[in-house]
Every structure is written in C-alpha cells, then in structure tokens.
Amino acid sequence: MTPTNFDAARATYQKIAANISKVMRGQDAATRHLLAALAAGGHVLLEDYPGTGKTTLAKALAKSIDARFKRIQFTPDLLPSDILGVSIFSQRDQEFHFHEGPVFTDILLADEINRASPRTQSALLEAMGEGQVSVEGERRNLSELFFVIATENPVEFRGTYPLPEAQMDRFAMQFTLGYVSAAEEVAILTAQEHNHPIEELKSAATLADVIAMKRAVENIRISPELKRYAVDLVAATRTASGVQLGASPRASIALMKTAQALALFDGVDFVAPEQIQLLAVPVIAHRVVLEPQARFSGLTTRGVVEDILKKLRVPA
C-alpha cells in the first residue's frame, strides 16, 4: 500500500465527512465515529433520545455515498422474513421466486431496532456477523459494503425490547449523539427554515471509493504492544467488579480495526494509543452486562470502561 492510496482514502473520508456536516451540525465527533466503523467494516448502533438526529445522520451518510440504501422501520409485529426476504410462488411460471428483503443492500438503516421482538432482531445476526444470509437452506451473499446503522431509544422507554447480548456484540460501536449547544440548534432551525438540507445533499463518494478506503484501513499498521493494550482493556472488563458479562474477543477485534480507521483519518499510517483510548468506550461499553445490583447503585458500563482506561497503564 503506497502513501498515495492512503491519501486517496483519507480524501474520501474528508469528502464524506464534509458532506455530512452540511446536515449534521455540531456532530463532528459522532460523524468521525460513524465513518470509522464504516471504514473498519463494522456496524453502528445509535442510542439516543427521540429527535436528536439519529435517522438524519444515517440518511446523510447514505446520501453521501453513491450506494444502495434501504431502511427498515422496526415495529413489534415485524417478522424475520420482512427483513431477509421470502420465496413467493409465481402463478405464471409455476415456480418459487425469492424476493430479496431489505437486507440486500449496501447501507441498511434499522430504525428503532429495539421496537421489534428479539426474534426479529436476531434475523440480522448472520447478516451482520458474516455478510451473508441463509434463507430456505440457501446461502446468499450480501454486498461487499454491507453496513448497518441501527437506531434505538433508551431501553427504559415504553414499547422497547432490550437487544440480546449476541445482537449487541454484532455492533462494532454504539454511541450517542447528544443534544447540541443552543447556538448550534439555532443554526439547525435556520437551515431548515425553508426546506430540509438533506434533500439537497449530493453524493460525495462512490461505492468503489468507500471500498478502497476499507482496503486502506486494513493496511494501517499496529504494533504488538498496542494490540496487547487493546486486549488488556477488553479483558479487564471481564474481571471488573459489578460486571456480570465482560466484553468478547470480538470487541478487541473491533477496537483494533476502528482504531486503524481512525489512524487513517488522522493522517498517520500506524495506530497510536490515543486512537484506542478514544474508541474504547463506544466499542466496548455496550457489550458489557452489569450485575443488577451494580446497575441499581448507579454504575454504568461507560463508567466501568472509563475506570479501566484510567487504571490501566497506557503504552507511551
């Protein structure tokens, strides 16, 4: 991999990020995280209160890339076949034809994913984990850039099902957008005075650009010491007090890959400790399950990971 390839990949990132920031004001950090997950080949779960711009961010990303985009609005009566697709008997040629579900796309927006039952949520497991689906005994590959952005409301809200741990683990990152500052919010109002800016959004990169970016990320170098640091961070969650279930090795892999992506965005061709530290909370925290007592006493998974970050010696 030559420096020009890195530069081209970085340029792709910058173009997409600039495009998204036209719509998403004051969410540069979230955009960066989102693109890091995209470049690292992971999926993203956005959890936040209603109206903070989760869906807008997903749509802005989809529009910025010249790629197929589908969205599923998750409802309690949604069925797995509504996601994966179903074979329908054709009267005309007396045969079953497979009708591809929304999962056969490049970018999939799973809106309010925790409003569907766990059974339906689980339909995404294979697709997200392995980039393929098995329907009626037949294996079908998904697109090379299969990227899921799921949004959800906090679990405490009415009419939600908590995501199963296995499903949670399939998401490379989970982060929140949060409320923007008052000045930013005024700017959002001004921008939407006449029409929504997202409607004018043009694509900034092609599918090939994004796939090239993914290739570039794979070639970012990471030293054994930092791999060890990532593993130690993840392993520490398994022994932390108040934790029922620690993070899996899949978390360490995701941490490494997203850190590589972030290093690419930062303009260096090797990973530094800061990138791992920055991503530790969004990558690890959602995979950790707390003991009920610890949760009641106010401990959060974010707190657990931040505590580990503070205590574990960082390579310097």
């Binding site: 030293s223 520490a236 061709d269």
Partner: protein, 699 residues
C-alpha cells in the same frame, strides 16, 4: 428493634450501649443514604462478626474474674463448685455481649439497598458449594432483623437478677409487638389475641416449671460433679484409702514446682497438713478440732512476707509454685493449703492480695489466687505446729480397736515404753523395712474375721500396703510406746527437672511427725519402704512427656493469669490491632488477587517492546518535574496538551508535538524509524530539553 435493644440494655446492664445501638438502627428510617453491598461484602462482614465473637469469647474466657475458664480446663481437679461457677459466669458474660458483637452485620443490612442478606454469607457450607459451582441457593436472601431480635431477647434473658419477673413480661410485650405486624389478616383480632394469651400462659407455666426443675437438678448436679474431682487436702480431716480394695491410681500431673535458692539439702517432704485423731471405723484422720479453727495471720510491713515462727534466722530458702484448688466462700477467691517444708519460719514474695491463716496442727491456708509462687525460708527446729496438748491428749490417744494388734507388734519388735526415743524409732524403722513390702494393690480378704480392722490385718497378716497404712500404723505404734505423734499429709520431693524439682500428684505421701520431748520439736519420721517411689514410677507411661507438656502449659498459663494480673486489662486493647490486621486482610485479599495478573503481565512485557530507548522520556521526565506528572492511564498526547498549557511554554508546543509524532513512530510503527530519523529524534529532543531548561517553571 430499638425497643428490643433497649430491653437488652436494661436487662444486661448495658443501658447506654443498648439505647445508642438502637438509635443507630432506627436512624435508618430517617437517613436516606444507603450502601450498595454485594454478596462478597456481606461475606466479609460476617467473617468479621464471627471473628469478633471468637475474640470476645477468648477475652471473656481468659479474663473471667471468678477463677479462669481455661485454667479450669487445663487443670482438672478444681473444686466442683468453682468450675461450675466459672463456667456459668463465662457463658453468661459472653452471651450478654452477643448483640454487641453481631451488631455490624445487622447494621450493614439495615443500611444496605437491599434489606436482606445473602444466605451464602452466613453458611460456610453454602459458600463452599457455591465455590464448587453449585448455584442451588445462590439467589436466596434472608432478612436478619428477626433473628437479631431473637438474639437480643435471648441475650437479655441472661441477666444477673434471676429472681425478678421483669424479663418474662418485658419479653411478652416485645414478642407481641413483633408478632403484631406480621399477624395473618385472615383471623379476627379476638382469635389472634386469645391464641397469643394462650401461648404466653403456657410460656409462663413453662418457665415456672423450668425454675423448679433447675433447683432440683442443681442439687443433684453438685453431687454428681463432685465425684469427678479428687478431694483436695482438707486441714480438718483426711480420709485414707485404708481398707479399700483394688488399685490406687494416681495421676502424673505436675502440681508443684520447686526452685532451690539457698539450700544445702532440698526438703524431702512438703507438708500440707497434719492430723491428731484417728477414727478406725471411717479410716479417717481428724485434726482434732473444728474445721474453722484457723486463725488469721498478718503480713509484715512490706505486705509480701509473712512470719510463721518469730525470731531465729532461717538457713535455707526455696521457691515454691503451687495451685490453690479450693474455693473460699468467705473471700470469693481460690484458696488452698500451702505445701511447706518442715520447719518453715517465714514466707516471702507473696502477692499483696493473698490472705494467710494457720491452724494449730501446722497447716497454712492461703486465699486469693489460683496460683502462688513464693519463697519459703526454713530451718530444722521449731515449727508452727503446736506442742502436744496435755489436756485433750489428742497426740497420745490410741484407739481401743487397734490396741491388741499394736501390742502384739510391739512385743514382736521387743520394744517397751521405757526405751529411749532413738531406739524406738530405729526399731520401728527396721521392723517395717524388714517385714513389710509396699504395694498399692489390696486384695479382698476371704478369711478375715469380721471384727478385725483393716489396720490390724495390715500389721499382723498382710504386711503389705501403701503409705497411709505405714503412716497410720507408725503413729499409733509410737503413741502406744508413749511418744506423741501426728499423721502428716503432703508430698515427697524426689524428681529433678533442670535446676529445680517437680512434684507430681502421684508423689502425694503420708508420713508421721514425732515429738522430740528433749528438743521440743516435731521431727519427720517415715516408715514407708523407700521402694515406694520406684513402685509408683512403674505407673509412668510412655506418653508422660505429653502430660508433662500439658502440665507445663497449664502452669505457664496460670502464671500469666495470676501473676501478671495487670496484663488482663490490656488484653482487650491488644486484641484490637489483631482484629484490624485481620479486617484489612479480609477486605483487601480479593482485590489483590484481581490486580496481580495484570501487574505480572505488564512486568513481563515491558522489557520486550521496541523504542523504549527514546530520548522523549527524558523530556517527559523534565516536563513532569514542573508539577504535572502523567497518571498511568493518560496517553502522551493528552498529557502533552495539558502540560504545555503553561503560557511560558507556548513556543515549545509545535516542536514538541512534532517530536511526539517521531517518538510515536519510533515506538508504535512496526517498521520503526530509519537511521536518519532516529538521529533526528535524538537531536530534536536535545534541542527541546535545552529550550525547556531555559524557561522558568511557573509558580
């Protein structure tokens, strides 16, 4: 809860403690703050409470005022009353303190988020099973408020004024109150009240009955216990084993330790008491006066030495350590007879609280402590024994029942009342030495005439027996020959141990005292064949060292218990550091376990990573010295941002950030730096160091 603790405080004389503990518990209703303790924390708190209870038991056990509990245990033959008394006192004090010792546990529950404790905390079996992976009872929780309530009630029941009924009625009120809140709503109030009344009535009858039964059993108990304890030497009477059939068994327990201090010859005998009157029907020697003919003595001005016989300096002294095994009702303290060498003039180094009494037959009764270590100064000659009383003539009386046998033996010895004293003594000594043997075994006599006494059978036909036979026979023979004599009881000293001597229980001996009319003194005279010591030693077992060890431990403990009395007050305080250390260990043990693997990992890898030779570290060190050290979890870039916030370092920012990039490449880029880049890192680090040295640290 408050009421229960208050009730306990009232009954157990801990009113203030009970009230304050109650207030602390009840304050949980007002105070909203709660801890979040998990199962492991409860395990630790429970362990702590158990330790506290054990420590409390140990403390109560060792510092019991009324004769030590442990002492009694190591040291079997305490008088029955004494042992029972101390055991009761120990257990009551321990039980009365129980609510205090278990308080931390209830306190933890009351101020916890969840108002119950895990069942696994209180049971070691469950903890063990959980460790083995069986999750059978993992989720079970227990509300310990009611168990604690019962502990308080139970503890309040152990009160000193057992006569009053206040406990029973107070307990009724409390139980009614406690049951009121949990009563079943299915039944009417009247039904509930009637049932409760019936139960309380039954309870009243029950406790009344138990009171009565206790009185009966207490009487029975004392007799029963007494059978297990050897009769201690009584100054008023000595029941001998004369005429008893079977083997005498004596224990090898060490009872007296001797340390000669200024002695030419160690005394052969240590006398506890002597007796004047023999009752052949009961085989008992009596002192010849009532049991309480002891007259109190007074100590010298220094309070520790006592003069037995005035005037006349003593020539030898010996240090004696002995137990006082009796119990004085008068002083509520241990008491016993002192084993003293014949001719003791004065006693020294006795503890100040000891009280001494003496009786006319030379017994010295001491009271005050369970163990006495003192100096006896002695010299052959005058003793505290009264001379033969010519009025009562106790010292010359011969029993009519024995007279015939005695006369027959005297004629066999060819002695008469007119012979000089020395001839009589030699004659008797020789007679017993030649014709008698020593044995502790007595067979039943099948052909014995019913009217013959055991003593006459010993003298005429059997001619074998133990020291009591010899001593009794000798005393009576001497009296028949017109010499006043007394029967003496005590110990024979013959076994050395290091520089001193030890006396075992089986060395208990009886001999006689002969009145030397010319010198006006009492002289020890022993006719028991000297082989008796060898025969007694046959009983020595292979495991005697074990019993010696036990005796030694008991002695050391008694020394600690009785000599260093002031220690006991500090015992509780000395327990506190131990408890603190244990507590620390319990709390931090598991945390350490968790931390260790990481520490190890970091240690093993630190030496391996490339780029640790970077000059950037010197820079970091110098910068950190300005007052901003880097915590282990902060990355270099973040820290540099913070450290360079100082305005004086503004011009250093760009070069340092560039240097950091170089350093990072050196450390974290697997291909590393090229030779020229490595040089650059070195050079620029040096430049930055100089620049840093020039800027003054901001105050």
């Amino acid at each position: 809860m408050f009421a229960a603790l208050l009730f306990w405080g009232w009954q157990a004389d801990f009113l203030i403690v009970g009230a304050s503990l109650g207030v602390v518990l009840e304050s949980s209703r007002v105070i909203r703050a709660r801890w979040d303790l998990d199962d492991a924390d409860f395990n630790h708190i429970w362990s702590f409470c158990v330790l506290l209870v054990v420590a409390l038991a140990g403390y109560v056990f060792t510092t019991n005022e009324a004769g030590g509990g442990l002492n009694a245990m190591l040291h079997g033959n305490m008088a029955a009353r004494n042992a029972v008394n101390s055991a009761v006192l120990t257990s009551t004090r321990f039980l009365r303190w129980l609510p205090m010792a278990t308080f931390p546990f209830i306190f933890a529950q009351v101020f916890n988020v969840r108002s119950s404790v895990p069942l696994t905390a209180v049971s070691l079996v469950l903890r063990w099973r959980r460790r083995k992976g069986e999750a059978t009872l993992a989720g079970h929780y227990l509300d310990i408020v009611y168990p604690y309530f019962i502990v308080c009630l139970f503890s309040a029941g152990i009160h000193s004024n057992s006569g009053t009924q206040s406990y029973f009625w107070g307990q009724c009120v409390l139980i009614t109150w406690a049951l009121w809140s949990v009563r079943a709503r299915r039944f009417g109030l009247v039904t509930w009240a009637c049932t409760l009344l019936a139960v309380l009535g039954l309870g009243f009858l029950g406790q009344f009955g138990i009171n009565q039964a206790q009185r009966v059993i207490e009487n029975f108990n004392a007799q029963w216990m007494a059978r297990f304890f050897r009769q201690r030497t009584d100054a008023a009477q000595s029941v001998t084993s004369i005429g008893q059939i079977g083997d005498l068994k004596l224990s090898p327990r060490i009872v007296i330790w001797l340390q000669p201090e200024n002695v030419v010859k160690v005394p052969t005998y240590l006398r506890e008491a002597s007796y004047r009157k023999y009752a052949p029907q009961r085989q008992t020697w009596f002192a010849g006066s009532s049991a309480n003919d002891f007259e109190p003595m007074s100590a010298e001005a220094d309070g520790t030495s006592w003069v037995l016989v005035p005037g006349n300096l003593s020539t030898a002294s010996i240090n004696i350590a002995c137990y006082l095994n009796g119990w004085s009702r008068e002083y509520e303290a241990p008491e016993g007879l002192l084993p003293l060498p014949t001719g003791s003039r004065s006693l020294g180094k006795l503890p100040a609280e000891i009280l001494l009494k003496k009786n006319p037959t030379g017994a010295v009764l001491a009271a005050g402590r369970g163990l006495l270590i003192f100096d006896a100064h002695y010299r052959p000659g005058a003793s505290i024994d009264s001379p033969p009383n010519v009025i009562t003539n106790f010292d010359s009386t011969v029993n009519l029942e024995e007279k015939a046998a005695l006369d027959q033996v005297i004629s066999e010895m060819n002695l008469s009342a007119t012979d000089p004293l020395a001839d009589k003594l030699i004659g008797i000594q020789r007679f017993f030495a030649q014709k008698f043997t020593y044995s502790t075994w007595q067979e039943a006599d099948k052909k014995a005439p019913t009217n013959s006494t055991p003593l006459s059978r010993f003298l005429l036909t059997r001619r074998t027996g133990h020291c009591e036979y010899f001593a009794t026979a000798t005393v009576l023979l001497l009296r028949e020959l017109g010499v006043p004599a007394r029967y003496a009881v005590g110990y024979a000293v013959h076994e050395t141990s290091g520089t001193g001597f030890i006396v075992r229980e089986r060395d208990a001996h009886a001999w006689c005292l002969v009145w030397d009319a010319s010198a006006k003194i009492w002289v020890d005279f022993d006719t028991t064949p000297s082989s008796w010591i060898a025969i007694e030693n046959r009983h020595k077992s292979m495991l005697e060292w074990l019993s010696d060890l036990k005796s030694w431990l008991g002695f050391e403990f008694a020394k600690f218990r009785w000599r260093e009395a002031h220690w006991q007050q500090y015992l509780l305080w000395s327990l506190i550091p131990v408890l603190v250390v244990l507590l620390y260990y319990i709390i931090f043990r598991h945390r350490k376990k968790r931390r260790d693997p990481h520490a190890k990992k970091w240690n093993e890898i630190q030496a391996v990573w490339p780029g640790l030779d970077s000059e950037f570290y010197q820079l970091e060190k110098n910068l950190a010295a300005r007052g901003l050290p880097r915590p282990p979890g902060e990355s270099l870039a973040d820290w540099l941002q913070r450290a360079l916030a100082e305005p004086a370092l503004a011009e250093l920012r760009p070069p340092l950030h560039q240097l950091l990039q170089l350093h990072y490449r050196h450390r974290f880029d697997p291909p590393g730096l090229s030779a020229s880049q490595r040089e650059q890192l070195k050079r620029e680090a040096k430049v930055c160091l100089h620049a840093l040295a020039r800027t003054k640290p901001a105050k």
